[in-house]
Symmetry: C2
Subunit: 402 residues, 2 copies
DNA sequence: GGTGATCCTGCAAAGGTTTGCAGTGAAGTA
DNA sequence: TACTTCACTGCAAACCTTTGCAGGATCACC
């Protein structure tokens, strides 16, 4: 408001120097007023702050970054923003970062590993750390890049690096058990991208669970993790003769349901379908999707916390230590596993070997993921009652490596 | 790869100085090699580039920004990333910006005007310009902020500022005409946020179109632009006795359909519903949503182009001109209006006064918004054939003010 | 050989901030 | 009183890059 402007309205940048002049102190005192207030006399401080406020002074972060080596920015590298899995993660990460006075660069790689690498390089000098979400590049490349800039990896396990993982293994197991419990003994796993860690975990856990439950598991894929990727295999699913499908994610599950519908195969009457992610959309389709809910927002928050924690511990470019000395630079390598929940809705139903009317073991009640909406209304439509399978809320299991 | 690292792997920042030493030239020559290659001897240039490559040198953008006054960053302020309307816009904007060697800060305001203002302030020094998407703050505040940093406004008309608008007026008119043509003469407009420019435009255009078509238009709202906001008014819609509803956006339309379904009201048999935005989701619900498609990605690209264009024209902090002199600072105030398209799917059907079997005036064919997918398969399910109402593609109508 | 033009390169200041060090004055202690 | 301690402030270097200016070398031309 009171910031000086020229006639034409262009803002005149007001610097620490202007504030110093106005308040009659040296620029270093102004600097300290903002970055180390306890070092300046309370009276001086209020005077400086008043002048700064009056002139509309705001610290130049670029200049600050130049000397401190900290930008107070973080980077967020995302495979595909348009995939509804990511926005809640971005939103949570951005919010958490801002709480800690950090800003967030967001970059979209279109699932392209090369773009991922370039972006890390491009961002490295501008940020204090990077969140790599569902990366598609190799582990060794990730390790290598982590030497250039602190990294936290989401949805991928890289030894020696801090990771935030969602326990899709547990989720896949719960899903298979749910299907087996419903009387399905021929199940397909609709795989996602080959380079996806989640994909590998799901395959492994689903295979084990199917074996334990005496069911036969058919692996399909890899496929694009999109609606189209799901609908494209509808025909294959029908031919395979399975009565249930666990899909890599909700988008594929929804696409598959569309595809089956086009072939005249009814879900869940003829084929049961389970997705993964519990994107908002999965409550809005018909039938509403049974899915493994992943704690996306929590993952975003946690990843930011881990990044900023390790960041605090390892200031780069500090002046006191000889530049580049590894002294005191110890990076966190904690790996956090977030729990998943099976949310049972309407896309799964009794299989060929269903036993009559055995109640589910799980707790019952309205879908906790959809409070107060008509999304899970049941009586009128005869839908199955939504329930959670395992545990009440998302908890952390933390392993600290090395 | 060959960048120097310490034993423990921490990266040693390599500067222009290191490259200069390695290649035996002065730092200014190295600088010119990157920022003004034509000024340096080809032989020298290749030598410097080789050394830079070898050492893994990357220019420090903060330092560069400090002296040039250009950060090569832009800010993107979004009301709600989780609203599926925005991700395609973000994606397009980020991609376009990156093509021009700019990076993008993304910030989410949670529909909070105060947060918008704070974010503009916070970002101002770090970016060369800001995209304000569907802002909720007042026009006068926006104008004031535009003096601090170049702004391009999306989905809001602010005189004197560059704006990217979607012609929702045209869209609303087309929707009303479509409904009237189907025999509906009592229609409700389900309004969105009061401070939304889109909302005002829709109201105005819908009212005019309804009058022209001899239909009665009931205004409902304001409501939250979410699924919940839509489902909350289902009861009100039923009581009002209308046979068709035009909703502020797809989320509300989908929520409304859910809500009506819960009340036992069938769509489109008893009530027709039209949304706005054509989010990906609108093709996946049952019934598939008739909606006004807004060119979201084009808006993102256009907005970035406009911002960078005006940015090129008005270098800030240039050294040659006296700092802050408005000389040469002439900002674009072009306002671009992007055309919208009515996409007819399955949530609209004949009204109480339908004339029998009059073919629609529009072109027919598969939904151009959903190529090659089973999303609009028709024969098996008996769905209406999807078609576009007005024009073939999104075109620009450009007015250059002042 | 002298003059001027052209091409390339080096010099040094500048941009806004932080921070180790030193200096000041006042208060506390012996 | 002399000495130490303390709280506060100023000084100046440093971070990395860009860029106006000037100097040096080379060449062409008269």
């Amino acid at each position: 408001m009171t910031a000086a402007t020229t006639d034409e309205g262009a803002a005149v940048p007001v610097t620490i120097r202007d504030v110093a002049r106005a308040s009659g102190v040296h620029i270093s005192t102004v600097s300290r007023t903002f970055s180390a207030p306890h070092l300046v006399n309370p009276e001086t401080r209020v005077r400086v702050l008043a002048c700064a406020e009056d002139l509309g002074y705001r610290p130049n972060r670029a200049a600050r970054a130049l000397i401190t080596g900290r930008t107070h920015n973080i980077g967020l590298i995302i495979a595909d923003i348009a995939n509804p899995f990511f926005p809640p993660l971005i939103k949570a990460a951005e919010s958490q970062a801002r709480h800690r006075d950090y800003h967030v660069f967001v970059a979209d790689t279109n699932e392209d590993p090369t773009a991922e690498e370039e972006l890390v390089h491009a961002l490295a000098k501008q940020v204090d750390g990077v969140l790599l979400c569902s990366p598609r590049m190799s582990n060794s490349l990730i390790e290598q890049l982590s030497r250039e800039v602190p990294l936290v990896v989401v949805n991928r396990q890289v030894t020696g690096l801090p990771c935030v993982l969602m326990d899709v293994g547990q989720g896949a197991r719960a899903a298979i058990e749910h299907l087996v419990g419903l009387g399905h003994d021929r199940i397909a796993l609709l795989g996602g991208p080959r380079s996806s860690w989640t994909n590998r975990e799901m395959r492994r856990a689903a295979a084990t669970a199917a074996r334990a439950g005496g069911a036969e598991l058919t692996m399909l894929g890899p496929n694009a993790p999109t609606e189209t990727g799901g609908s494209a295999v509808a025909e294959q699913v029908r031919r395979s003769g399975v009565s249930a499908v666990l899909a890599y994610n909700d988008l594929m599950a929804i696409g598959l349901i569309e595809g089956l519908d086009a072939l005249g195969v009814r879900v869940p009457q003829e084929v049961s379908v389970v997705g993964v992610d519990d994107i908002a959309l999965s409550r809005l389709t018909r039938p509403k999707l049974t899915t493994v809910a992943t704690p996306t927002a929590a993952a975003g928050r946690t990843a930011v916390d881990m990044l900023l924690q390790q960041d605090t511990e390892s200031p780069r470019g500090a002046r006191g230590l000889g530049a580049g000395t590894a002294l005191g630079v110890r990076r966190t390598t904690a790996q956090v596993m977030l729990q998943t929940d099976l949310v049972i809705r309407d896309s799964t139903g009794p299989g060929p070997h269903a036993r009559p009317a055995r109640p589910l073991a799980a707790s019952r009640g309205p879908d906790p993921h959809c409070p107060a909406g008509p999304g899970t209304t049941t009586a009128a439509t005869g839908d199955a009652i939504a329930s959670k399978y395992c545990n009440g809320g998302s908890q952390l299991r933390v392993d600290v490596a090395r």
